[in-house]
Symmetry: C2
Subunit: 175 residues, 2 copies
């Protein structure tokens, strides 16, 4: 089985400082729709601040219990995949899955996309993505593996997290 | 060479009626970043209404000429890929490329993703995506080809256009 986690802390800002990034409404929409499309079990939205999780819950309630779900029942189905947690330890407890990180910067010992796909078909895996300018590298030691960056054709490697999750999930779980 | 066009008309709404969809700020950001990552020549934002194109131009000016470009020069590089046009005829005139549409609903005669990748490596191609609930099917007759839907694991086929473009460009132009 495959899970996805979107981390908001510890992440980097554009100057390389560690931050907690704010939860973004559209991330919940776009990522839950990708996850439902590809059979992901749960999309974990990870933030250490309860007020940020409360904000996410208010958005979710609009689609799960409020007018949103009547207006667009398909969006309701997508939002049903989301769970809110404080940290990746909670994901580990709930899933027992291998924690597999992603990065836009190549790190030593990273695995290939082919390796990651093979791993995710053999074992339970949670793919982890960072908001802001990506997951703080100090967290990589807590992961079971980190996948190589999504390489394009040049030196530009600044995909939105919405694009990165979409491409990664297609590479790992697509036909 | 490969181009991408984001159509806002003629598109469908959720009831199947033909509409012109509004231009969305985040589409410009996410799609231009994907396009720059994968070496796309130009991202065409297509809208028949000049006031909508003016709105897009104001966003672009913030990143190309205003404070945005100082704050985040990488975002400026991405926005440099965007051109605003009224219709796909203008894209044809500027590029001479084959017009290759996308759809979330399987249509008769659609080509596979493998076929589309082969085509885009042999010929100049512009990939066309629809906002709202996708490109109006009546436009398909004006295209040189239409690619099969992005298939996931179940019946849900409601990716955001940001996800759809990301996955499609990776499938066509990724390594």
């Amino acid at each position: 089985m495959l899970w996805v986690g979107l981390l908001h802390w510890p992440c980097l800002d554009k100057n390389g400082n560690e931050i907690a990034a704010a939860i973004t409404n559209l991330d919940l929409h776009d990522l839950s729709r990708v996850c439902l499309t590809y059979g992901i079990v749960t999309l974990y939205i990870v933030h250490p601040s309860q007020s940020q999780l409360d904000f996410a819950q208010r958005i979710m309630d609009h689609w799960l219990k409020g007018y949103g779900g009547q207006y667009n029942p398909l969006r309701k189905r997508a939002f049903e995949l989301i769970e809110l947690v404080n940290d990746i330890d909670e994901i580990k407890r709930r899933t027992g899955a291998l924690m597999v990180g992603t990065t836009a910067t190549r790190i030593k010992g990273c695995i290939s996309w082919d390796d990651a796909r093979t791993l995710a078909h053999a074992r339970d895996v949670c793919l982890l993505f960072g908001t802001g300018w990506g997951i703080s590298p100090r967290l990589f030691t807590a992961f079971d593996a980190v996948i190589e960056p999504i390489a394009g054709k040049g030196d530009f490697n600044h995909l939105s997290v919405r694009s990165a999750v979409s491409i990664a999930v297609d590479r790992i779980a697509g036909r």
